[in-house]
Amino acid sequence: MSLRQTISSTTLGDRILLVFLLLASFAGIVFIKDVLPSSGGVSIEVQGKTTHRYLLNQNRTVRVESPYGHLTVEIRERKVRVINASCQNKLCEHQGWVTRGVIICLPARISVSVGGPEKSGDKRIDATTG
């Protein structure tokens, strides 16, 4: 089908909607880039509650369990991935290595958030008062 034929099979409403959606999603993406989680570390949540927090700079393997399933989080060379998930579709595993963002295992209700680049030293706390 030529381009002209393609366009002619759309109505005006179609086209306006399409353009609007494209613009909205691009705007959203640009906005999101500024707002990514920035706590500089890996945060593991089970059923919505944060259960583990680790820094990216230390290699480790952690087994995470929930009443609905389990998986293993591997942190290596400042990247994170999920392996040995108990879920059926293994979508979480297929994500592979992640440096930023969130890996979610829905059936197990486990999520692994990887923060943005660690802020330079001054976010590190030397002591706590209170």
Partner: protein, 174 residues
């Protein structure tokens, strides 16, 4: 419902299932990023045979697909059902409100949009209580939905034209 309607729905559902199965066999880098080819059937059904038929086809497809994959009543099922139902409802609503405004592409976009958004909402409410990852992913899903919606819509349009053509030929040859 007349027997030929039931027959038609069964046939369409079978096609939808086939497309769905075919699609899930394709290896993708990002697993949950599906084009949703089965929706081509859904949209075509909607336009040619109406709301009810499209609803039936969607229900049958979602239930049987989950039975086959063993995820019946699991979280995946709930999301598929939620997404499917809401997309049909949204399309129906739009069509009854402004019947002439949208063609297959527009309808498909509306369907895809509400499908994705309601899946996000369901996932947030039922499974991931943190709003952060959900909000984070929304613009990407929006973009993906727009692209796949357009593709599906165009394909449906092709299908409809093809079907009308062959019907025309059948009628002409009577």
């Amino acid at each position: 419902m007349r027997p030929q309607d039931k027959y038609r729905i069964a046939l369409l559902s079978a096609y939808a299932l086939a497309l769905h199965a075919f699609e899930s066999l394709i290896p993708m880098p990002i697993p949950w990023l599906r084009v949703g080819l089965a929706n081509i059937i859904t949209i075509t059904t909607f336009i040619l045979f109406g709301f009810r038929s499209a609803m039936m086809v969607t229900l049958v497809r979602v239930i049987i697909a989950s039975l086959f994959s063993g995820s019946f009543l699991g979280p995946g099922f709930i999301l598929s059902m939620g997404g499917g139902l809401s997309s049909i409802l949204a399309m129906g609503f739009m069509l009854s409100l402004v019947p002439r405004l949208f063609g297959p592409v527009g309808l498909s976009l509306i369907g895809a949009l509400s499908h994705n958004l309601s899946q996000l909402l369901l996932a947030y409410l039922l499974f991931i209580q943190k709003i952060e990852p959900v909000l984070l992913i929304t613009p990407f899903l929006l973009l993906i939905g727009t692209i796949t919606g357009t593709v599906n819509g165009l394909a449906a349009d092709l299908l409809i034209k093809g079907l009308k053509n062959s019907q025309q030929r059948i009628q002409n040859s009577r």
